[in-house]
Structures are given as structure tokens and as C-alpha cells.
Symmetry: C2
Subunit: 207 residues, 2 copies
């Protein structure tokens, strides 16, 4: 089967690089979605809802950018681009750690994560036409013990400033993480085996 | 304390990149060591012995490259460069899978690894002067189920041709690996938290 165009509904360069690793050259199309949690929403419910919202928003953007609906024959033969969306959060003691507001919050997050395990949840949503496949993937991440100098040096690097939980496992943060249990790319922001499996369930072979 | 020069006793660009990730700019100095196993040697014994042999060989190279022994005072104050060596093997059913001989063996390895878990062992040896620190780190890696097309596409990429077990987790192989248990960088070829801990036991603060 021919590979449809792949559109990544995310502004994250990390997610785009992950897809490139397995040979998928995705068009990047950030989705403008309010990422705040709803009252009483679980972390799993949150990332699933946001991933779906991003995928739907980008499908709508693409539709409005190319008006004129395809003929029924074309709609059958060609369901349009495969849209891939994801949303990642860090969960510690049941609390979602989002992107830190400033260096002080980065420091507070890293101090809390040190010497312990936390969960990284990524919600995935793939859509092609009206077909949809979703999955939330969980990875447990364990930080090594950190002393004050470790924390100060990491926060000063500022690499975690724009990342959930205030760290990047694929950067200098690799030196903070002692072990993981689960999918590694899920911690970076997109589980590659999950994306491959969901795409196949929609009839698209990636990777 | 001032950071000594760091010498990586390995020709692997992957190990050098891992060290660069945590801000360590290592001089690369490949060690010429016979990597074959001894009779009755366990995989753990093998990687520990080879890592030590690489570190010792590179220390000897460096000493012969700069003849004239330092004064006793200088020897106290300056123990010379920190040498980092590592050796990685893939173990399946107690059998060591080394680098594949050819594409046929690559295919055979990937077929055997598919849908199952295996162990990746990396022996680490750090030496500075006469001081030494070693550790063997174990990570469990689980491949997803692969069909014939998956195996053929991966072998055709040839990225595993020069790698233990015939795959690279940091490349296209990321799409083959469903989950890991343990340290991720250990699978790439050098466990960063292990190197940081061993270096600290020798009085050197990396990362």
C-alpha cells in the first residue's frame, strides 16, 4: 500500500526527530489546544483527551486549508493524510508535573524527582479521515540520587525549561535517569512502537 | 576539583556521543584488544574482562606516547587522564550474540530477538593512574512481534551490521523495541549514570 502523507500535530522538534529515526518524514502542523486539565480528570484521561483534541484540530485545519470536498470515488481510494498527535505528562505521587514556570520551579521539580520513580504518560491519537486509533502508554522512570550541585548544574543548563517535569531524558538529563521500565521513546514524547501499531490498525505501514 | 582529561578507550562514535550528551568532551583512543571469549567465561565475566583490558591497553598507549615519568610530587597532584572503557554484548538464552558476520546472520539474529526479551550487558572500567572502578550493568530489552517485512526492512537498512545483536536501539531499531527495563544508555553502549558513579568513586565529577 502507498504511504499517505504523515502530519505531526505537534510543534515538538523531539517528536519530529523520533519519527525521522524510523524513516518517517512528517509535516509539522502544531495544534492550538488548551492544555489545562479539567476538574477531576485523571492524568490518563487528560493525555488521551489532549492527544485527540490535537489530532481533530489539525484535521480541521487541513480541511479548511484545502476546500472543495473530494469526489466520493476519491474519498474511498484516498482517506487523506495520517495525522499523528501526542501529549506527554510526568506524574509524581498522583500529581501532574507540567512545564515549569521558571528556574525556581525547575529546581523544585528536579529535587522532588531525585532518587525516586515517577510515571511518564503519553497519550497517542492517530486519525485518517474518520478512522481513529488511540492509546496511552506508561513508562516508569527512576532518577538517581542527586546532591545540591547535581540539581544546580542541571537547572543551570535550562534544557528542561520547556519540558514536562523539567527534564529531557534525551539530553543532559540522561545522566539523571538510572533506569526506566517501559518504552524509552514514550519518555521523549512519542512511543515509536505504539505509533507503528496504531498506524497499522488504520491500514498504514510505518517503520 | 579540576576536571582531568577524559579519554574514551573505544572507537565507537555512539559512546563518544553519549558522553557529549552529558557535557563530557572525550578524546577518543581506540584500544586494540582481542574480543573473543575465553573457554567457560560467562557473559558478565567477558564484558568485565574486556572493558578492563581496553582501559589498561589505552593507559599503556598514553604512557608510551609521553615518556619520562612525572616527579613524585606531580604524581600526587595529578593522576593523569581519566580513561573510560566499555564493552557491550547481547545475551539471548545464555548465548552471546556478537556483531553479525553478514546480512544472513543479521536476519537470523533479528528473527530470534523478535517478540522476546534479551539482556544487554555492558562492562565499564574507569582507570586513573593505578585507581580503578568497574561495574557491569544489565538492561532487559523486549522486541515487539515482527513479521517478515519488518525483519527484511530492518536488515536492509544495514544499521545493525556492525553492532552486537545486529540492531541499534538509538536508530531505526527504536521501532523494534517495545520496552526496556534498566538503563537506556547502557543499551546504546555506555551507561551514563554508571560512568558518573564510577568516576565519582575515583574523585572525578562528571555530568
Amino acid at each position: 500500500m502507498p504511504l499517505p502523507e504523515v502530519v505531526l500535530a505537534s510543534a515538538s522538534p523531539r517528536r519530529c526527530e523520533l519519527l525521522a529515526t524510523i524513516g518517517v518524514d512528517a509535516r509539522v502542523r502544531p495544534a492550538d489546544v488548551d492544555e489545562s486539565a479539567l476538574n477531576g480528570e485523571t492524568p490518563t484521561g487528560l493525555v488521551e483527551r489532549l492527544a485527540r483534541a490535537k489530532a481533530v484540530a489539525v484535521q480541521a485545519q487541513l480541511a479548511s486549508a484545502s476546500p472543495g470536498s473530494p469526489s466520493p470515488e476519491r474519498r474511498d481510494a484516498e482517506a487523506g493524510p495520517l495525522v499523528i498527535a501526542a501529549d506527554t505528562v510526568v506524574v509524581l505521587d498522583g500529581e501532574v508535573l507540567g512545564k515549569p514556570a521558571d528556574a525556581a520551579e525547575s529546581r523544585a521539580f528536579i529535587e522532588r524527582l531525585a532518587g525516586r520513580s515517577h510515571l511518564v504518560l503519553t497519550g497517542h491519537c492517530l486519525r485518517r479521515g474518520a478512522a481513529e486509533a488511540t492509546r496511552v502508554e506508561r513508562t516508569t522512570v527512576t532518577f538517581r540520587q542527586l546532591d545540591d550541585d547535581d540539581v544546580a548544574a542541571y537547572v543551570a543548563s535550562a534544557e528542561g525549561a520547556d519540558k514536562a517535569g523539567a527534564y529531557a531524558i534525551q539530553g543532559r538529563g540522561a545522566g539523571l535517569v538510572e533506569r526506566i521500565e517501559g518504552c524509552y521513546s514514550n519518555v521523549v514524547g512519542l512511543s515509536l512502537p505504539t505509533v507503528i501499531a496504531l498506524a497499522r490498525s488504520l491500514g498504514v505501514r510505518l517503520g
